[in-house]
């Protein structure tokens, strides 16, 4: 089954520093860390104390609300530190890796005979479950629920994000195993989106509804695809996964071992030699960042792409869901008459003395400056040009800001997560924090109605 999906509205943000198609192995990290900020809304309960030894694949904490959902260690070693923040909230769990790695091994899953419950139990105990995200609310899926469909996007339009066709090469076996397992947990379809002209390994995978997508960003965001293919109604549940996580799940099913290794794109104009590295989840970013070299001292390192990633220090760790690490210059400098002089070196969705429309294929070196101050919403019609979902973006944002639950529901908040508003946030003339507004709206809706 294959369908074409063409998205017209949107904006491709073309940046300097795309990764070359070469992959190196990152230097083995000394310390690995699980960053709890990666798991939104999770309350962790530690199962290992500071100073104790863990093996790779051994649970180190579980979800307080769903006890069987465990999070496992990416490596074997000693749990050296639990970093806590305000009100003793756990921020990071650090593990000093052993020289000799010891791995916990489960029995491989017999896919032909496994039942729904057996698949769930296997994914939970091996630590693969947290890769499954759910909508609405953008949380880790609850193993007690059944989604109406599962969506996977292997079409990448986010700026500088890892090229899925490249990193998934030769992973057909793992992908097929993961898809087969996922298929047992939903009565609906598993929708997979690939680029229109791509030679993605997914074109050979069975038991999926394949969609060939074309168009500018946000066509590659799974939220856009859900809205066009099978939108979420109130009360419905959809699961989403990232293709690289399918590989980890698939490998675990086939071998019984949790091997959280990924091919990560190190990109951005601050990186001297942008390319791919294989690294484990939780590895120190510095282990491969400085192998490529940086162009300047004053740069910002981002776990993820420039629109949705989270800021991380150079001595930080690779995030649980990230396939891209971006480094761009900080923009903490003033610009003389920056608001009225012609602009040639920045991207703009208008033509107000901004000339990015003259060279649609030019690649830009953007920094983190906001290019203006925060203002009330003034301009209208601007978001709609880059927002292909059948939702009124400005009105939904305002509903979230005034905390009107009825309006939030009716205008379609169930269908979106913050990343769907990353592009409207980018073009916003009033520099409003769209993703935060949506996140707060989702939290409120979850608390009041969830």
């Amino acid at each position: 089954m294959s369908e074409n999906l063409r998205i017209k509205k949107g904006l491709d943000i073309k940046l300097v520093g795309a990764a070359e198609h070469t992959t190196s192995k990152a230097v083995t990290s000394n310390v690995y860390a699980i960053t709890l900020n990666d798991f939104y809304g999770l309350t962790p309960k530690l199962m290992v104390k500071e100073g104790e030894e863990v093996k790779a694949g051994e649970p180190i904490f579980y979800n307080k609300d769903v006890k069987e959902m465990v999070f496992v260690s990416p490596v074997s070693g000693e749990l050296i530190e639990v970093v806590r923040g305000a009100r003793r909230k756990i921020l990071t769990i650090k593990i000093l890796a052993d020289k000799e790695q010891q791995q916990i091994s489960h029995n491989p899953l017999d896919l032909d005979h496994a039942s729904d419950e057996e698949v769930r139990a296997f994914l939970l105990k091996t630590g693969c479950w947290p890769f499954i995200k759910q909508r609405p609310y953008d949380l880790i899926a609850n193993p007690g629920t059944t989604p109406k469909a599962i969506f996977i996007s292997a079409y990448v339009t986010a700026p500088l994000a890892a090229d899925m066709d490249y990193v998934l090469q030769g992973k057909e076996k793992e992908l097929q195993a993961a898809i087969k397992a996922l298929g047992k947990m939903t009565p609906g379809l598993i929708h997979v989106s690939i680029g229109k002209n791509s030679d993605s390994p997914f074109s050979k995978i069975e038991d999926i509804a394949l969609h060939k997508v074309s168009g500018p960003h946000p066509a590659g965001l799974v939220g856009t695809q859900i809205n066009k293919i099978d939108p979420i109604n109130k009360g419905e549940l959809v699961w989403t996964l990232s293709p690289q996580d399918l590989v980890i799940i698939g490998e675990c099913i086939l071998s019984g071992k949790f091997n959280p290794e990924r091919t990560v794109a190190l990109v951005g104009s601050s990186v001297r030699k942008p390319q791919y590295y294989t690294a484990k989840i939780g590895a120190e970013i510095s282990t491969f960042l400085y192998a490529s070299g940086v162009n300047e001292d004053n740069f910002r390192l981002i776990n993820g792409d420039v629109l949705t990633g989270s800021k991380v220090k150079p001595d930080g760790y690779l995030g649980f869901y990230n396939t891209t690490v971006t480094a761009i210059p900080e923009g903490d400098d003033y610009e003389f008459f920056g608001w009225n002089k012609p602009v040639f070196n920045k991207i703009s969705s208008t033509r107000a003395l901004t000339f990015s429309w003259l060279q649609p294929n030019k690649k830009y070196k953007l920094d983190t400056n906001t290019n203006g101050e925060h203002r009330a919403f003034v301009v209208t019609g601007q978001y709609e040009k880059v927002f292909p979902l059948d939702i009124y973006p400005l009105q939904l944002l305002k509903a979230c800001m005034v905390q009107d639950l009825d309006e939030m529901e009716q205008l379609g908040l169930y269908e979106v997560i913050p990343e769907d508003f990353s592009l409207t946030e980018f073009v916003c003339i009033s520099k409003q924090p769209h993703q935060k507004i949506i996140r707060d709206g989702l939290d409120l809706l979850h608390k009041e109605i969830g």
Binding site: P187, K234, E236, L353, N369, N371, G372, T380, G381, K436
Partner: protein, 427 residues
């Protein structure tokens, strides 16, 4: 030179930290951000932002207004001298280089219009600054455009104190009481215009105010005419004016300071549409609305329902398309109706909103007994209805979503579909 600027930048940076958290911070920041785009970096959500900000957006509109301002200098002078010539019995014929673009015209217009601009900006920004300091919010850029629009939509001889009072009223009641830029219901520039119209009607309407000097000279031997084309039409005196269609289109006619040239409004409109700042939907639909209403009136006259003796005959029989090139309609459509804050906010709503502005403008123009112009009243009226239009447009989207929900057999998991399980089960 370069070093000097760096120290200036640094000095301002130090001052910014000095003012941080203090009462005067918004006032200082307004000047600082005027000189330098701030050094703010992204700290939530996406890490990069597009180049445009509100200052740039507003600046683009001002750029579109500059040709109109310059043209108004010449036209103000020209209309004054032309009226004197006409009163002395030797009517002028327009000679573009010979008697229009002359230093004499420019200087007279300049000395009359610039004080209006200065008062408008001075008083308006002062009120904005005071409110920003009292309420502790940043000085927002909305008034940059309003301040330029106001002098262009008043008669040239409007006393400056009157303008100052109106500006204070417009900014305080029209905007600040609602929370400032982005929160207002009525277009502030038109609120100012409406205040002037209702508070000082003798200065805002009639057959004297539209040409400089006509009011002062009224009743003396040197009396000159200050009547607009619409004024002649309203009195069924269409034969008394001698303006050609091209005069009307290019704007060599009496009227408010900056509204006369439909040609420059057209250029400004094209520039604003091309730069993607203003909504082409509103402009196009407003033009259509005005044409439709004009056609209806022409049809009524053609059908013989309104006779030549009717007091509406002059305006109703006026060619429907000429409504677009006389009076303030073109200016209103391009610069006033497209105000994003007070206009419709949905794309479909913009079509309805614009159409009704054009339609009602021409209707008021014809039927208003006191004052043959209705653009600003029509836009203010539609400002009030814009949220209602949006409401119904958005209900359409909500209904579509509800329909989808009702058609979908909501899957609730293995527990079978009972009513209470319609809720999403989450942790």
């Amino acid at each position: 030179m370069r070093d000097k600027r760096l120290t200036f930048k640094k000095r301002l940076h130090i001052l910014k930290h000095h003012y941080r958290g203090k009462k005067m911070a918004p006032a200082f920041n307004a000047f600082h951000t005027f000189l330098f785009t701030p050094n703010d970096t992204t700290h939530s959500g996406g890490h990069v932002r597009a180049a445009d900000d509100l200052k740039r957006t507003m600046n683009t509109v001002i750029m579109a207004l500059i040709p109109i301002l310059v043209f108004s200098f010449f036209n103000t002078g020209y209309q004054h001298y032309a009226a004197i010539d006409a009163a002395s019995g030797v009517p002028r014929t327009l000679d573009l280089m010979g008697n229009f673009f002359t230093w004499e015209n420019f200087w007279l217009g300049f000395t009359l219009v610039i004080p209006l601009v200065i008062v408008s900006y001075g008083v308006g920004l002062l009120v904005e600054f005071i409110f920003a300091v009292i309420k502790g919010h940043e000085v927002e850029e909305g008034y940059l455009v309003t301040g330029m629009l106001v002098p262009l939509i008043v008669p040239v001889d409007t006393p400056l104190w009157m303008l100052a009072v109106a500006v204070v009223f417009g900014v305080v009641i029209g905007k600040e009481v609602f929370g400032g830029t982005g929160m207002n219901i009525l277009n502030p520039a038109l609120t100012i215009r409406a205040f002037l119209f209702f508070a000082y009607p003798t200065w805002m309407s009639g057959d004297k105010v539209w040409v400089h000097g006509a009011v002062d000279r009224a009743g003396t031997a040197d009396a000159i005419s200050g009547e607009t084309i619409l004024g002649y039409l309203a009195q069924n005196n269409a034969s008394e004016y001698s303006y050609s269609t091209s005069d009307m289109f290019f704007g060599f006619i009496p009227g408010s300071v900056g509204e006369t040239s439909a040609f420059l409004c057209l250029l400004g409109g094209i520039f604003l549409i091309y730069s993607k700042i203003a909504s082409w939907r509103i402009m196009v639909s407003a033009v259509i609305g005005a044409l439709v209403m004009g056609l209806i009136f022409n049809g009524v006259v053609d059908a013989g329902i309104i006779g030549e003796t009717s007091k509406f005959y002059g305006l109703m029989s006026f060619d429907f398309w000429k409504h677009l090139i006389v009076g303030g309609l073109a200016f209103g459509i391009v610069y006033m109706a497209t105000d994003p804050v007070t206009g419709s906010q949905t794309n479909r709503g913009k079509w309805i909103y614009g159409f009704l502005i054009g339609f009602i403008s021409v209707m008021i123009r014809v039927f208003n007994p006191a004052y043959p112009e209705g653009v600003f009243l029509a836009i203010l009226l539609m400002n009030v209805f814009a949220p209602t239009i949006d409401h119904y447009v958005i209900r359409g989207n909500v209904k579509r979503r509800m329909k989808r929900l009702n058609n979908a057999s909501v899957f609730t998991g293995p527990g079978e579909g009972k009513e209470e399980e319609l809720k999403v089960e989450t942790a």
